[in-house]
Symmetry: C2
Subunit: 291 residues, 2 copies
């Protein structure tokens, strides 16, 4: 196993696999999967993510439909767009780019995306199926973590996975995935209220940091030989760079690298995987809807 788990490599390997599948499906059916992305307002980070998703779609042969709405859109107008996409037969996945402007309630709108087209895996029905071990769309970022583990053949059966962070989009669904049969991991979730954090993280065979605190996980918190997966993406000031900041993860990379048997870097680790798994879910939805 490589010591540095290369997210970019896994990303391309997933996209290559999907390209082949989509090409075969198109030959068989004459149709291609379609992903609709709804963007409200002009947040630059959101625009960046939407552009990345669109590029990935183009690369693998997924049609992408963009719906750009002004920040002043009313909830009922946004809901009308979602509902029309739910009904649109060309659309296999509906993605609402977050965050929304403060005037809109994201939970209420996300709940209206049809669970059958919820390729982000955020709908409570799909989250519930995930925890119950039923077939569903898996939340993309934790699904990406699992894809990296699978790609590098990192054994999880009976292993102790400690997840730092209990967010609805990473920590909770990742725990839900890894305790299922197949992964069969022993899973611990810890968070800001956890007592004796270092003692708990040192028990991890596989340590996942998904808390959004720059370089929180230091070498003394890691067991010798552990696999370390860093889901964090944090900007810290760096006057030596022209842009004035650099991007780091939740793990103090250089020191933890010495102790870990394998580690994902930031950037170049889990980050891109979210898009790869979004594409995987979109192709899955296309198949489901063909069936």
């Amino acid at each position: 196993m490589d010591k540095i788990l290369d997210g970019r490599h896994v990303y391309h390997s997933v996209l290559d696999r999907l390209t082949g599948q989509i090409s075969d499906l198109k030959k068989a059916t004459g149709k291609s999967p379609g992903l609709a992305v709804v963007l409200v307002g002009e947040d630059p980070a959101s625009q960046f993510y939407v552009a990345s998703k669109k590029r990935a779609c183009k690369k693998i042969g997924v049609q992408s439909f963009e719906h750009i709405l002004p920040a002043t859109v009313s909830e009922s107008e946004l809901v009308a767009v979602i509902e029309s996409l739910n009904k649109d037969d060309e659309v296999d996945g509906v993605l609402l780019q977050l965050p929304l402007p403060k005037s809109l309630n994201p939970d209420r709108v996300l709940d209206l995306i049809s669970p059958d087209k919820d390729v982000d895996g955020f709908h409570p029905l799909n989250v519930g199926k995930l925890l119950l071990g039923l077939d569903t769309y898996k939340s993309c970022t934790p699904y990406g973590v699992c894809e990296i583990l699978d790609h590098y053949k990192i054994d999880t059966v009976g292993k102790h996975v400690v997840i730092v962070g209990r967010s609805n989009i990473v920590g909770k669904p990742l725990a839900a995935m890894l305790i299922q049969r197949g992964y069969d991991a022993t899973v611990t979730i810890c968070h800001s209220k956890t007592e004796n954090m270092a003692e708990i993280t040192r028990a991890a065979d596989i340590l996942v940091a998904a808390v959004g605190v720059a370089e929180l996980i230091t070498a003394d918190m890691v067991k010798q030989g552990a696999v370390v997966i860093d889901v964090g993406i944090n900007r810290i000031n760096d006057e030596t760079l022209e842009k004035g900041y650099r991007v780091v993860g939740d793990v103090a990379f250089d020191s933890v690298l010495e102790k870990a048997s394998a580690i994902t870097p930031v950037p170049g680790g889990v980050g891109l995987m979210t898009i790869a798994m979004l594409m995987t879910n979109t192709v899955q939805s296309f198949r489901n809807r063909l069936a």
Copy 2:
């Protein structure tokens, strides 16, 4: 705190609280909550549970509606009963007693119970909401565990809760509840594939056994001073008793009692709490439907 956590006492305290609430609601609205129980076949254990639920309803002033169907009922007939109960305005909760005869698929039928009347908390939508920290009906047995912790003011914030067992009706939803804000526990789920089980259980401040293996948890697996919650109900042969068996939990009670700061007995611990929380959810549904 008492060393023996008395489930019977907590059960009666929940039922007393509900009796007062139901009486007040009846004064205010002229209506009472209603629970419909659907029993398929003549399994004696199921008949016993249904009778216990009926008694609890009567005790607190919940109307109970029994629907007893023959073991030979078809799925479509069963579905028709469920659908009529979903629509029945007198019915706040619909409970399908499990197990079903082998000819029927429980997952498919359970999914048809309206999530709004799913007072067992088994519907994937409600399980998803539980994991996401949204308002919902909590699965009754784990909810009962939390009620015991609440009643005896056992602090969970930052504490390490280790749950042995990953079932869909206890281990998984209990983990989902205890990691939320408010409980704020550090939660570990382990199971049959877990390596070094004893090492992990010994790290628990609160140890929950919900695996269905008689007396699996022995004193050497428990930290001095831990709180131990035993969800198991197992029959083991005992020729000295007329009935030929006795009921024990997943914890070797006598030896673990020496080390624990508090422990639930079996019987007389978590067992009755499932019914108490079923009643709690039924009253909650009644309130929701009034609102």
